[in-house]
Each structure stands twice: as C-alpha cells, then as structure tokens.
Subunit: 151 residues, 2 copies
Amino acid sequence: MDNTFKEFLQEKGYKFTKQRQVVMEVFAEREGEHMTTEEVFHYAGKKMPEIGIATVYRAVSLLESIGFLTALTFEDGTTRYERRLEDEKHKHHHLVCNVCHEITEVNVDLLDDLEEEIEKTVHFHITDHNLKFYGICDKCSRKKEGEANEV
Amino acid sequence: MDNTFKEFLQEKGYKFTKQRQVVMEVFAEREGEHMTTEEVFHYAGKKMPEIGIATVYRAVSLLESIGFLTALTFEDGTTRYERRLEDEKHKHHHLVCNVCHEITEVNVDLLDDLEEEIEKTVHFHITDHNLKFYGICDKCSRKKEGEANEV
DNA sequence: TTGACTGCAAATCATTTGCACTACG
DNA sequence: CGTAGTGCAAATGATTTGCAGTCAA
C-alpha cells in the first residue's frame, strides 16, 4: 500500500518522505473522516512524534494540489480535508450537522443539468461546484426528542 | 432611508449609532457587491475616518445576526457579506470567477426537490444549503480568447 | 552529493477581546 | 444619567515563512 503512496508522489516529481507517508497513512486509515490540519497533525504525531505542524500544513496542501486530497471549506471558515477517491466522476456533497458537527456524504448528480442550464443562461463556464447542506442529523434529532420528553 | 436603518436596529433592541449607520450605508450604496470586512472598513472610513476596524467587525456580525446581511464563505476561506434582500424566498447562489474573482448571482430553486429527496433518503433534516459554482465568467473567457489570438 | 524537505521559531493575517471612554435613548 | 457601543492596542488562532540542518534520490 505504501508503494502506491510512493508512486503517487514520485510520478509528480516529489520526494517520498517519512512525514508525507505518515500523513497519507493517517488519511488512509481514517477513510470518511474530514480532518482539519490540526487533527491530521495530532494523528500524525502518534506515528511520528518529531513531525512539525508546519510540515503537516505543507504536506496537506501538497497532497491536495496533486489530487490525493480534497479541501473543504465550511460556513464557519474551517478547512478540512478528505481523501479524494480514485473515481473522479463520483461527485459527492456534504451534510453538516449543526449540532454534533458531523459531516456525512450524499451523492447527487442532479447538479449537472443545473450547470448546463446556467452555462447557457448566464454565459459562465462552470468548472466546479460546491454544495453543502446544513441541518440536523438523524442521531441528534432523536436525542432532541428524548430531551424534550424528559421535561 | 436612514430611517429604515434606524428601525431595523431599534426593533431588535440595538442602538442606532453613527458607525452602524455608516456600515449600513456602505452596503446600501454598493448593492450587488460582496465585500470582506476589510473592504467595508475601507469604504466606511471614507465616510467616517475615526471608525475602528473592530467596530466594523462588530457591526457586520451584528447586522448579519439580525438579517440585514448574509455571510458568504468561499473556497479560499475568505468571508464576504452581501445585503440580504427583503424577499427571503428569493434564494440565490453564486458564480465565482476563478480569474477576476468577481462574484455574480443566479437564481435556482431546483434545490428544493433535491433537499426533499435527501431528507427522505438519508434522514437528515436540512435547514439550509450553500451552493457555489466556480469557473470562468464571460468577460474573462473573451479576454482569454483575445490573448490567444495575439500570439 | 545536493537540492528538496523538515523542524523550529518568528512572522503574518484575519478576527476577537479587555478596557477606559463616549454617546444613544 | 446609565449602559450599550466605540477606539485602540494587545491577544488569539490559524497558517506561512526564513533559515540552518537533514535525508531521499
């Protein structure tokens, strides 16, 4: 598995260093998580205590630029990263719970029609889009009901 | 017109101060612009040189909380504000040009169906959504063509 | 070997906060 | 008049950068 990581970097002309490896491993071992750089640093530190946070910042932004990661920006301004899956087509969007702040994913391809419509109407060449839904997840809304009954 | 501003604040129990007035005026005079707090500060300073940036930060976030403004967060992490129009229904989305960074607006209501679908499928109660399109605006793509021809 | 990469600490940038002062209601 | 609101400067938090030392190719 490490080998894939190594190639990923070397194909693009970057060195495969221990710290980059560690950062990549953190993402591989935490599929589905959306981590801030601080969080990545925290997990990376468990595997390699000497790693510096500046290095993690540099690694994470490098990995984003070469397509290993995708950056997500939320309403509250925080930036989080997720591992970019191989199948690029598979565009997904995020549901952000306002209570527990958990981020889940949904697949909706309907946006393609929308883009086409906009391109024609407004003459704007769309290359990317960003859709996030905010609300309350199932878990939290059940919890709320429970609390209400306790009164 | 100032009177509306005054009421807007006083109805919610806030004082109508000169600095808040100035900030509101800046937005009123720049309909359609999406400004960072720094930019608001800059324009406000022309009307009232003594105003402090901390006050502008405070004013802008107050105005957002009482519905006079809407905050927008972009991919690059910047937060910008736009004046919230009276007709809340009128949900619009943003087109962000990657070249000139100009932000334009589009109206698309199709998202409602999408939300409904998601609510049913994933059991997530959606209260808000955020959709942005990134690409190249008409103006910039024409400019690019021009440059290509110059070669 | 040697330039890319790293760790560290200092710098930067956006935003927030403490505090004494001011002015709106 | 009394308190919410302000200006200023210092504090904060996230991210970046300069630099001397290190290590992958």
